[in-house]
Symmetry: C2
Subunit: 442 residues, 2 copies
């Protein structure tokens, strides 16, 4: 229940939960459906569900609330003028797909709601227009946990189209939770890539004092406008200070913290470059340089591929589950050097028969490690050889997430035999032949 004051007011206006209402507060007008108070919500704050699906909370005392009919519209202030661009600056494209970087927080509830238009980012961050001549595109706006390969494909096509239309670099803003899956997908989908493709986002929404949104976007724009890197990567804070960002290879990077600004880390690899807000780029590792030719897209993706984390007493029946559903590929996240339970001690039985059965049916199975750092190696212990001799592909030092994306991409573009052959062959830097001593926990 809301507070007595709110309940009395709503009753007097004939407003019930689920009704479409208009709320005016602090010069902003929003429209949406009145939601019931949540258990954790404050009694003196009303909750409105926007058309976008996001909930926003508004302090009752400051708001003017009216019942309305018809469609709710997106929140936001009045349309702003177009940002002035400098035609002499390098031409880059900004592809906006949603995520925290485009969100604003509601301080009363801690909830967040999205910006009205992607172009608002240019208004919010005037520095951007001094770095590059920016074209903004937005194929969709979604939370990253809901992105599937269809969205990855859309982004790949949009990126290639922008590059082939003259953009010397592309920035893609995206929700951070699955950003490293997306960066891996784009790494494989974009063929003969001839421009920096810089994914970025924010861990804190852009109207918070501690937001990383501005610096991440500015540094990403600097890389897109100035660097000679022809790879897909992620540009996020190097440390939790605002000193600089780092650009990490799209297949060798992972979100390693749920909330820190420096959550993204290179795994079994070094950052490709460090970059400051004012455009100083410090190249740190080997990378593919911009050459000539057209960037094309090979965007096939197999719908039926799974990533399974193995654990003590885990059931090998999970393999049958996927095989029975017609899955064509499975990545295992094994323990240590790439183990599954193989002994009779596992109450759920050895994984050997199910893995062997699936492979006989033509399913491609790859092995990675849940340690994340380091590589798998089938040659050290007998138990490992038992698994590898069934035909499981040991994926070197590839991240489980990258291996999952790679296998989906391979099976979407090649037959199973070729996919199996290519799975542990290095295509875009996803395998590091010799991991450096310092490439651990950086």
């Amino acid at each position: 229940m809301y507070s007595d004051e709110i309940e009395t007011f709503l009753k007097s206006k004939g407003i019930k939960t689920g009704d479409r209402i208009r709320v005016e507060y602090s010069g902003v007008t929003i429209e949406g459906d009145l939601m019931p108070k949540t258990e954790a919500g404050r009694h003196d704050t009303i909750i409105v569900k926007l058309k976008s699906g996001y909930n926003v909370g508004i302090a009752f005392g400051n708001a003017r609330i009216t019942k309305m009919n018809g469609q709710a519209v997106e929140p936001g202030s009045s349309p702003k003028s177009k940002v002035k661009q400098d035609a002499k600056l390098p031409k880059i494209s900004l592809i906006y797909t949603g995520g925290t970087i485009g969100n604003k927080i509601d301080y009363r509830t801690g909830g967040v709601y999205p910006l009205l238009k992607p172009e608002e980012l240019l208004h919010e961050i005037p520095e951007l227009s001094k770095i590059a001549n920016i074209t903004v595109k937005s194929p969709f706006s979604m939370a990253s946990e809901d992105l599937s390969y269809a969205e990855w494909q859309k982004i790949a096509h949009e990126v290639a189209s922008e590059i082939n239309s003259g953009a010397r670099g592309v920035v893609v803003t995206i929700g951070t939770d699955t950003m490293h899956y997306v960066s891996a997908a784009l790494s494989f989908m974009l063929q003969d890539l001839n421009a920096p493709v810089v994914l970025t986002g924010a861990q804190r929404s852009s109207d918070r004092g501690s937001s990383d949104a501005f610096m991440n976007l500015i540094c990403a724009a600097q890389l897109a406008a100035k660097s000679d890197i022809a790879e897909v990567g992620i540009c996020m804070h190097r440390s939790s200070s605002d000193k600089e960002c780092q650009f990490m290879r799209g297949t060798k990077v992972r979100k390693m913290h749920s909330s820190r600004r420096d959550a993204f880390r290179p795994i079994n690899d070094s950052a490709i470059a460090f970059v400051t807000s004012d455009g100083k780029i410090d190249y740190n590792g080997h990378y593919k340089k911009i050459g000539k030719g057209k960037t094309t897209v090979k965007a096939g993706f197999e719908n039926n591929v799974a990533l399974i984390k193995v654990h003590p007493n885990s059931t090998p029946g999970i393999i049958d589950f996927y095989v029975d559903m017609g899955y064509k590929g499975i990545i295992l996240e094994g323990t240590g050097l790439g183990h599954t339970p193989v002994g009779p001690s596992n109450k759920k039985g050895s994984w050997i028969p199910q893995i062997g059965g699936a492979i006989k049916k033509g399913v491609v199975i790859g092995m990675t490690t849940q340690t994340l750092y380091g590589r798998v190696n089938a040659n050290v212990y007998t138990n490992l050889r038992k698994v590898s001799e069934l035909g499981v592909v040991y994926c070197e030092d590839m991240l489980p997430e990258t291996a999952y994306v790679k296998l989906g991409w391979l099976l979407g573009n090649y037959d199973a035999k070729k996919a199996k052959e290519l799975l542990n062959r290095n295509i875009v830097g996803e395998i590091n032949e010799r991991i450096g001593y310092d490439e651990f926990l950086v």
Copy 2:
């Protein structure tokens, strides 16, 4: 095929693949079954499968090979005399359960084989007998990937029995791949623990120059003999140098590298103590101290609990799969702050109906994050609230592996209602209320 020389020899002696043979080389005699050459194996090395299941390779040129009948026996040299113990030193117990720490490597093939007897560790490391008066026990000897909760229970009972028989501390040697699952299990199973329980192992077998076995075991013995910590933890190399080891809380530690000596790291926590080979203990964090009373065991464990890693386009059908098999608990390893796909964009559908259905049937579902570092938080985004409002327990900063073990333990000892209630309540330090700024990537 082996080399012509070997094939000719085997033929002349009437030895075929699978035959029981005796091989004498370098003063060692082993017995086992002749194996076919593996694809990767050397042509001039014969492979013998020991009774233990381990393969060993022997350079043909140096070996005397004879065909035999009857049972093969374990490899090893002649029995050694009992190690002399000093009764005035603190009394500790060493529980040996297998793993690399008790293996020797065969330099010709890179394969490993186990020591004949756990007591050999005392012979191999004479320093141990100067630290403590050591009783060696070995309830079983297994590779850690094959340990299931039955073995965790055996270890828990063995540890409690040793403590209650007068051991002031216990060292448990164990394979490293699932050591952090075991340390979590022992943390919950041992009640009113009144002694240091120090798990250790090795990333490199004990006869390699780079082995960490000696130092890990010596430092673990120092902690068991001298520290006042009454917790279960893992003692392994702090860095890849041999300067010191670190003792990490059993529920807040994880194997983060497949091969490095410093693979085990505290997650969302600090090491409890640093320890050197000569017994200098530097206490670093808060911990439970040795008190009075008897250590008891609450070792119940539910067989039907799963850990599921969520990924883009992952199928919610996996929930039904486990529910249909009668599973009572599921830990999800979500993205970011604890997400599953909830939107219609996921080709496999939203996870909401399946999660909701499982919870209605009484399955306890917990949420952790695949970032490993940081905590889940159901209050930030609408998509998170959608999941938490179904009754999913958000497990704070608990590691996915620890949450899996905890849920299995809870459901093995309490009813579902109580288990759900306790899942995100701190019991033995598995939840860190306030993660320190420096507790990331250390």
